[in-house]
Symmetry: C2
Subunit: 638 residues, 2 copies
C-alpha cells in the first residue's frame, strides 16, 4: 500500500519495504510476505538462499521458496532479493573466494529466473575489491531487466579493512570502491544514526540511489514512546522522497509499542488475528513524513516528465518552430511582462512627456514569431502614451501567416508592418529607435542571438536601443550519474560532445555558479568578434568531501533594459518563468575530484562561416580531452 | 465521439470523419468543425488553402483559418489536411508543374506548422508519375510526425491517362503507381459503389491503410428511406474496422431524411438550434455496423498488443527460460491434454491390459521444464492404469529447483527421478520405452528439436516411441507492408535475413500453404542428416490480380502419436492453443507478382558444428538474393 497520495507524484518513493533479517526456513516466506503486505508494507528485502549453503557437486540450491510456493508474479512484485552476506569475492582464502563467485552467480541466476526487479549486493568487504568489481561487471553484462543494488553506507564510519589505514581518515567516500568504478550500478544507501554534513549528503542526489535502507536504531523516541527521526534525518528522507528513492526499514524493533491499537483505547476488543507488525510504528512514521511534504507546485507537476530528460537544443535559425511550440512559449506571461516593462522604460527615456504628440518611435521586433513581442510593444506604448510604429520581422513563412491573421483580428493594420524575411538579409526602409528580440537560449548566446543582432544592427539608429542590451552565461560543476549513463548508452563520442537542454533533478550542484561569456548590444566593441574564451576555477566546499563531476550545468541572465532583467541563473532567476531549462555540457569521463582540489575548466565559443560551436575541457584536478574539437559533434547552424 | 465501445479495441477505427468538400472561405471552418463535432463526427478532412491560390512573389498563403482562429490543439486533434486537388506534379505544362511543386511544399509546411497528424495527397493524375514520387519522397524525408496519406481508389475504374491504353485493361492495381514505389507511404482507399473481388480486396489488409473514404453514392436506400450498404460493402467495412482503419464519409447527402428527430415524431417540438447534420444518417449507419461487430474473443484481446510485433525466436538451447515464461506456457491446457491423450494411447499400445500389474513403463521427459509433461504423463498412467517410472531431464538448473519443489509438494518422490543435465550428454542408467518432449518452435524444427531428439535417441529402446513422432513445417506467401517497414527501419541487411515470431494481423495471405520440411522420430533413416532443401511453387488465385510479396508466413503441424496431432497450420490448427505464433521469413525487397505468374521459392535447412540456420530465396517471377547465406545473420545455437 503506497505511503500516501501526492498530486502528480507517481514515483517509486511511494513504496516502502522492510528487510527480512533471518533466512525464512521451512517455507515460511509466504506467511512473512502476507503479514507484511497486510501491515501496509509494499515489498520485502528477503534472503533467497540458505546462508549455510556452499556449492557442492549435485547440490540443489536451498532456496527460501520455489516459484510454486510463491508465484512468479508475487516474486517479481513484492520481493527484492538479498544476496547472501557471507559472500566475499576478495578473500585471501581461495576456497571462500571461489565458493563466493559460484554462489553469487547461482543466486543471481535464480533471481533472474524469478524475474525479480532488483537484488541487493552486500558492500565489498575490503577497500581492495578488484574481483568484486570484475564479477559484478560480468553479471551486469548478462542482465537485461533486473537491477543490482549495491548496499553502501552513507558514511564510511569504520575502516573496512585493518590493512588500509588511510580509510580511517577518509570519512567521505565516493562510490568507486578502491578506485574501481562499476558500470551502470545503482545503489541503495544505508542510513544510520549519525549523518555526515549536508554538503556531503547532497552528493547522493546526483547518484542513482534507488532505496534508502533506514535502520531502526537511527530512530529516536518521542515523548509518547513512539519512534521518530531527528530534523536532519527528516530532511534527508524528504530529499530522497523528492528523488524517487524508496525506503526499506531494517533492524529489530526498539520501540515495543503496546499491542493495543492506536485508534482505540479499549482493551476489551476481540483479539485481532493479525497481530500488530513489530515494524509497524516505523512504517507509520515514514508515511507521516511522506504525507507531510508540500504538494508539488503546478509548474513542477507539469514539468515532471522532463526531469533529467536530455533534449537537443533548438536550431531556430535552421528549423522553423511549430504553432504549438510558439503557443507554449507565449504562455510565459512573466517573460513578456518583463519585456513590456523594459520597452516602456526605453520609450519613456527615448521620448520625453513633451514630445509624445510629435515623435513616433520606430520599433522593430526581429524574430517576431506569432507576435507576442508585438503585443508587448503596443501595450508598452499604450501604457506610456508614446506613439509607435512597429515592424515585425519574421523568417518563418508559416508564422508570417499567423502574424497576418493576428493583425487582422486585432485591427492593428495601421500600427504594424509585417516583413517576411530573415533579419540578417532584410533591406529596411528606415532605421529603428528600438530593436526588440527574444533570441536567447538556455546558455544565452547558444541560439546565436549575437550573430542575428549583429546582422540587424545595420538598421538600428546610432543611438538606438537593443532590448536585451546584454546577456551573460554561467556554469557550475555537477554530479549527474543518470545523465551520464543516458549519454553513455549511445555508445559514441558525439553524444558526449553535445550540450543538452534538460530539467536538472537528480543532480548534485557542487560549487557556486561563475560567469562564462557576456555579449552587449548594440555591439560597439573595437573587436566585434563573437569568439570567446574563458578559464574558470571552482572550489568545492571542504565538507563535501571528494566527488565525481559528470559535467557542467549552464544558465543565462539577460539585462533587457537598465534594471529590468530576465534569467535562469539559480541565484537571480526570474520567478515563475518556464521558457528555459538549464543546459548541460557533459564530460566523456567523470572526473574524480579529491577533497580540497579545485576544478579548472575552459570554455571556448568558436565561429565559422556556416556554424558556431562550443569546445570545453577540464585541466584540473586531472585533464580531460578537448570536447567537440572544431565543432565535429555539436554546432548551431548560421 | 467514438463510434462505440468494443471491449479490448482501442484502435483508430473507433473514430469517424467527414470530408469538407468546398473551401471554407471567410473563416467559417470553426463553425463547420463545431457543427460536425456536435453531430458526433470525430474529425474533418478539410482543405487547408484556397484552391484559387497560385504562388507569386510576396503572396501570403490564403489559408482556411490560422492557428489563432483554430487553436493548434484543435488543428492537431480534429483536422486531417486535404492538399489542393489541382496540384499536378507530372503535367506537361511546365508552369503548372512548377506551381504544383511550390504549392504542395507550402501546404505541407503549413500543415506541419499546425502539427496535423496527417495530410491526404490527391492520387497521381497519370500512370507516369516520376515527379510525383520524387517530390513526395523529398517531403517524407523532412517529416517527423505528420503522416502523408495517398488517396487511392480500391479499383482503377477509369483509365488515368488517355495516353496509357493498357491502364484500361488492368482493373487490378498495386500501390506502386507506374512502377514507382513510395517509401513509407500510408494510404487511404476510396470506396465507391462497385467493388472488386474478395481476393483483390483482401490485398488491402496487408497494406498500411489508415482510412477508408466512403462515398455517399456507395450507399443503397433501405425500405424506410435510410442509407445502408450492400453485404459486400459491409464485409469490407468490418474487415477495415478489424484492421484499425477509420472511415471518412465523403460526398453530398443523397438521403434527405426529414429534419424530425429519429427519437420523436412530435413535429411541434421547439426548434433545435443545431440542425441535423446532412451526413448524420450515414454516420449513424457506420456506427451501427461498428457496434454490431462481434466482441473480440478473450484470447484475441490478450494478444492484441502482439499483433504484427516482431519477436526474435527463443534460443532455448542457449538461453534459460524464466519462471514467468514457463508459467505462461503451462497455462496452455489444450496442448497438455493432447500430450496426455497421446501418452495414454502409447501406454496402452505398449502394455496390454493383462500386463498392467507386471510391466512398468520407463518414460523420460526430455526438457521437463517445471514439469507439465511429467504431470501429463502421470495422469495418463493413472487414466490407463499403467505403471510408470518417470525420468525428468532438464538442463536449466533453476527449473530443476522448481522440479524438486514440485515433486515434494505433489508427493511424487517414488515416481519421478529428476536429472539435472542436457539430454545430449546424459548418461542414462537404463533405456526408455517412451520419450516425451516439447521442443517444437513455430516452424517445427526451428528450436532444434531434431538435433536434441537425435541426441536423446541413444537411451530410447529400439522399439521405443517418441512423442512427438513427427512434425512438418509449412509456408505461404504474404503481403505485409507493416512488417516490411518495421524491418526496414533497422537499416541493415541482417534484420531482413532473420525469421521472426509474430502474430500476423495486417497481412494478406496470397496462396494456400505448402509443406516444407518433415522430421520423424526416432530417426531411422539411412541418411540421418537433418539438412533439408525444398523448392516450392505457389499459384496466386487469378481474381487477386497482381500483388506484392514481402515474405513468407511459416507454421508447423506435429503428429504426437498416431491420430493425435498438434499444430498451428491454419487449415488444421489445434483450436484454443496459444503457445505459438506464426514465424515470418522476410524478403529484402518486396517482389511484385503480376497476375497469373507463379512464385517459386527455395528453403534450405543447414547444419554446422555449433549452429543450425535457414537460407531462402525466390527465383520466380523475379530472383531475390539468397537470404542469410552461411547463417551470417540468423542462426540457432547448438
Amino acid at each position: 500500500m503506497p505511503l500516501g497520495q501526492r498530486a502528480g507524484d507517481k514515483s517509486e518513493s511511494r513504496y516502502c519495504g522492510m528487510e527480512v533479517l533471518d533466512f525464512p526456513a521451512g517455507e515460511e516466506l509466504p506467511a512473512v510476505l502476507s503479514q507484511s503486505l497486510s501491515s501496509a508494507f509494499d515489498f520485502l528485502l528477503a534472503p533467497l538462499v540458505d546462508p549455510g549453503y556452499r556449492p557442492a557437486p549435485g547440490a540443489v540450491l536451498p532456496v527460501a521458496a520455489s516459484d510454486l510456493v510463491l508465484s512468479p508474479s508475487q516474486w517479481s512484485s513484492h520481493i527484492v532479493g538479498k544476496i547472501s552476506e557471507w559472500i566475499d569475492l576478495d578473500s585471501e582464502d581461495e576456497q571462500l573466494r571461489l565458493d563466493s563467485e559460484v554462489t553469487l552467480k547461482q543466486e543471481i541466476a535464480w533471481a533472474s529466473h524469478l524475474s525479480l526487479q532488483a537484488c541487493v549486493l552486500p558492500p565489498p568487504k575490503r577497500s581492495s575489491c578488484a574481483n568484486y568489481a570484475r564479477v559484478v561487471n560480468h553479471i551486469l553484462q548478462g542482465l537485461t531487466n533486473m537491477q543490482l543494488w549495491l548496499r553502501i553506507p552513507l558514511e564510511k564510519s569504520e575502516p573496512m579493512d585493518e590493512e588500509h589505514d588511510e580509510a580511517k581518515n577518509n570519512s567521505n567516500m565516493t562510490l568507486g570502491y578502491g578506485g574501481i568504478h562499476f558500470d551502470y550500478y545503482v545503489g541503495c544507501s544505508l542510513i544510520r544514526s549519525t549523518l555526515p554534513s549536508m554538503n556531503s549528503l547532497g552528493r547522493w542526489f546526483g547518484e542513482p540511489v534507488r532505496a534508502a535502507i533506514l535502520q531502526t536504531n537511527a530512530f529516536l523516541t518521542n515523548s509518547r514512546g513512539y519512534p521518530c527521526l531527528s530534523k536532519r534525518h527528516q530532511m534527508l528522507l524528504t530529499g530522497f522522497f523528492n528523488h524517487s528513492v524508496q525506503v526499506i526499514i531494517s533492524g529489530r524493533s526498539n520501540h515495543n509499542i503496546s499491542q493495543v491499537g492506536l485508534l482505540s483505547g479499549d482493551e476489551n476488543h476481540t483479539e485481532d488475528t493479525s497481530v500488530r507488525h513489530a515494524l509497524g510504528p516505523y512504517l507509520e512514521y515514514i508515511a507521516y513524513i511522506y504525507q507531510r511534504m508540500d504538494p508539488l507546485p503546478e509548474q513542477e507537476r507539469f514539468e515532471i516528465n522532463y526531469r533529467d530528460f536530455l533534449q537537443s537544443p533548438l536550431q531556430p535559425l535552421m528549423d522553423n518552430l511549430e504553432a504549438q511550440t510558439y503557443e507554449t512559449f507565449e504562455k510565459d506571461t512573466v517573460k513578456y511582462s518583463q519585456y513590456q516593462r523594459a520597452i516602456a522604460k526605453a520609450l519613456v527615456d527615448r521620448v520625453s512627456d513633451d514630445e509624445v504628440s510629435t515623435i513616433k518611435t520606430v520599433l522593430m521586433v526581429v524574430g517576431a514569431g506569432r507576435g507576442p513581442l508585438v503585443r508587448a510593444s503596443l501595450q508598452a506604448a499604450e501604457e506610456t502614451g508614446r506613439k509607435l510604429k512597429v515592424y515585425a520581422v519574421e523568417k518563418n513563412p508559416n508564422a508570417v501567416i499567423t502574424l497576418h491573421s493576428l493583425i487582422k483580428l486585432e485591427g492593428w493594420e495601421s500600427l504594424v508592418t509585417i516583413i517576411s524575411s530573415d533579419m540578417r538579409c532584410w533591406d529596411a526602409p528606415e532605421k529603428a529607435d528600438i530593436l526588440v528580440s527574444e533570441l536567447l537560449g538556455s546558455f544565452g548566446d547558444n541560439e546565436l542571438s549575437p550573430e542575428c543582432l549583429d546582422g540587424a544592427q545595420r538598421f538600428l539608429k546610432p543611438d538606438g536601443i537593443s532590448i536585451p542590451s546584454s546577456y551573460t552565461s554561467f556554469i557550475e560543476p555537477i554530479t549527474a550519474s543518470k545523465l551520464h549513463n543516458d549519454i553513455k548508452a549511445h555508445k559514441d563520442i558525439a553524444h558526449f560532445e553535445t550540450a543538452y537542454v534538460v530539467k536538472l533533478h537528480r543532480v548534485a550542484r557542487l560549487a557556486p555558479t561563475q560567469k562564462v561569456f557576456t555579449f552587449d548590444h548594440p555591439n560597439t566593441s573595437s573587436n566585434p568578434s563573437n569568439q570567446r574564451y574563458t578559464k574558470l576555477q571552482f572550489e568545492i566546499p571542504e565538507d563535501t568531501g571528494s566527488c565525481l563531476v559528470h559535467g557542467f550545468a549552464g544558465y543565462f541572465d539577460a539585462v533587457l533594459y537598465k534594471d529590468v532583467h530576465l534569467g535562469i541563473e539559480p541565484n537571480t532567476a526570474t520567478p515563475n518563468m518556464f521558457s528555459w531549462f538549464p543546459i548541460f555540457f557533459p564530460l566523456r569521463k567523470p572526473i574524480h575530484v579529491p577533497s580540497k582540489s579545485p576544478i579548472e575548466v575552459h570554455f571556448w565559443r568558436c565561429c565559422g562561416s556556416t556554424k558556431v560551436w562550443y569546445e570545453w575541457a577540464v585541466t584540473a584536478p586531472s585533464p580531460s580531452p578537448i570536447h567537440n574539437s572544431n565543432g565535429r559533434s555539436y554546432w548551431v547552424g548560421l
